[in-house]
Amino acid sequence: MSVDIYAFCNRREFDIVNDFLRHFAVSHSENQSEYEYPWLAENPSQIFTNVFELMKELCKCKIQPYTIYWTNDREVEPYCVWIVFTQDENIFFGLGVNENNVQYWLNRIKRFLGTDYAYWSLEDPPPLIKEEFFSRFHSFKLSEGI
């Protein structure tokens, strides 16, 4: 059973995004070949074909939300990684892992980002603002005692 891990990062910088991919998306490939910009727009103003160009743009224009996914080509964890660019200038990093190993990956991403703000849940669409993340984070902390 696959679960979602989310971790919070308040530095929306391309270097961190790049580092994250080097650490966690070693054998992953992009899930899409074209990226409409802005995200989920009915009439996109721009189509990116290079994901790194898109991420650079998102790190410049920090209030543009976007979620980008990479899937693992090999059947090893993390099966899927994703980066959520929020509309309030933050980033959430996501990992799709087996629930049996969730604690290992949770600790690993916490160490990588140097933060305690990370939680896991059953498959759940990503939050798009900091408040939503922390609301889920606190619910998770409360439910840890269940």
């Binding site: 899930n31 074209e34 979620t67 099966y79 899927c80």
Partner: protein, 377 residues
């Protein structure tokens, strides 16, 4: 008898008197006798004096002993008296306390009677009874709060928490403590409980059957195998609302009847049959689009679906729904507890094997899709 013969007969030196008769001897003897007499008489006096002194000391010691005994007895008597006084005081205090409690209870009962009378009077006059300030009336016994008087109707009405225990007692909050009273004492509660019970009975008996029929009707339109649906003329996806379109073919109807009997038991438990992401892309809210893109991006590849493309989102949605529906329709059903939005919830869980691999499908008990994908150990 003269003193001379007495001396001779008893004194050990009496021979001297018989042998020497001279005056000198007599004088000397007299002196000697006088000295001896003095000596012999003086000895018992000293002994008596000493004995007297000794007796006096003894008397003094005795007196001291007696004094001590008297003092001890006096002290013991005083202690006894004090103990008696203390016991009497304690008894009096207990009696007093009991009396005070009795008085309080009586007063509370009187107050109740008075307030009830006043309320009745007010009711008869058509006025609203405001009540009076009542004493606390809570007695703490062994750490447990008990009411020294029954709660008044007003207190019950005001403090009713809306909760009723399984044994039919209403929970009342009074002065920051919870008390239970028979539900019949809460105005209108008995009627409400009876109505609820009746409503439940009515629901079980009448409505459930109707709902089951509706569910089965919808289910028959959506429980065709994915392969059949894909080869059909109406496309891979079929919304529950479009069910008449799905019933055009007689062959399909026969299949539906067969599957209806197999699935009916399960489907009764899952009234909401929105499998996967049922809303068309152009009618989705931003949240729904986000949720669908997340599901698709997370599992599309392992479900054998093409890469994500925003321009083809609705087509991808239909394909995704077809595959996950196939898992659900062919899967073995069980229940599981999973963390959903920070809460541990009971969910429907289906597992199905396809091409030698195992797939899962999760949904809430109300039928909201959670996840579907490849099972990896």
């Amino acid at each position: 008898m003269s003193s001379g013969s007495y001396i001779r007969s008893i004194h050990p030196l009496h021979f001297l008197t018989s042998k020497r008769k001279s005056a000198t001897t007599h004088i000397g003897m007299a002196i000697l006798l006088a000295v001896l007499a003095t000596l012999s008489l003086s000895w018992p006096q000293e002994a008596l004096t000493q004995s007297y002194k000794s007796n006096a000391a003894n008397d003094s010691w005795m007196r001291q002993q007696q004094d001590q005994q008297r003092q001890q007895m006096h002290q013991q008597q005083q202690a006894k008296q004090r103990e008696l006084i203390r016991q009497q005081q304690q008894k009096f205090s207990n009696d007093n306390k009991q009396k005070v409690i009795r008085d309080q209870q009586q007063k509370a009962a009187n107050d109740n009677k008075q307030s009830e009378t006043a309320r009745q009077k007010a009711r008869s006059q058509g006025a609203t009874y405001q009540g009076t300030n009542k004493p606390t009336s809570i007695v703490i016994s062994n750490g447990i709060a008990r009411m020294a008087r029954p709660l008044t109707a007003g207190e019950i009405q005001r403090g009713f928490t809306g909760k009723v225990t399984a044994d039919g007692r209403a929970l009342i909050k009074f002065q920051n403590r919870i008390f239970t009273v028979p539900a019949s004492r809460v105005s209108g509660l008995s009627a409400r409980l009876a109505a609820d019970k009746q409503r439940k009975i009515r629901w079980t008996a009448q409505l459930q059957e109707g709902v089951n029929k509706k569910i089965k009707a919808i289910a028959t339109a959506t429980t065709l195998p994915a392969t059949k649906r894909l080869s059909g003329p109406k496309g891979p996806d079929c919304e529950p609302k479009d069910s008449p379109k799905c019933r055009e073919s007689g062959e399909e109807s026969q299949l539906q009847d067969k599957q209806k009997s197999q699935k009916s038991e399960l489907l009764v438990q899952i009234p909401y049959l929105a499998i996967g992401h049922p809303t068309p892309w152009d009618r989705m809210t931003k949240e729904e689009k986000k949720a669908f893109q997340h599901s698709y991006s997370r599992h599309g590849k392992e479900l054998g679906l093409p890469s994500w493309k925003g321009a083809n989102a609705d087509e991808l949605r239909q394909k995704f729904n077809t595959v996950v529906k196939h898992i659900r329709d062919n899967g073995k059903h069980s229940y599981s507890y999973q963390l959903d939005k920070g809460e541990k919830v009971k969910v429907n869980y289906f597992t199905a094997s396809m091409n030698g691999r195992s797939y899962y499908y999760y949904e809430t008990l109300s039928g909201r899709f959670i996840s579907a994908g490849l099972m990896r150990d």
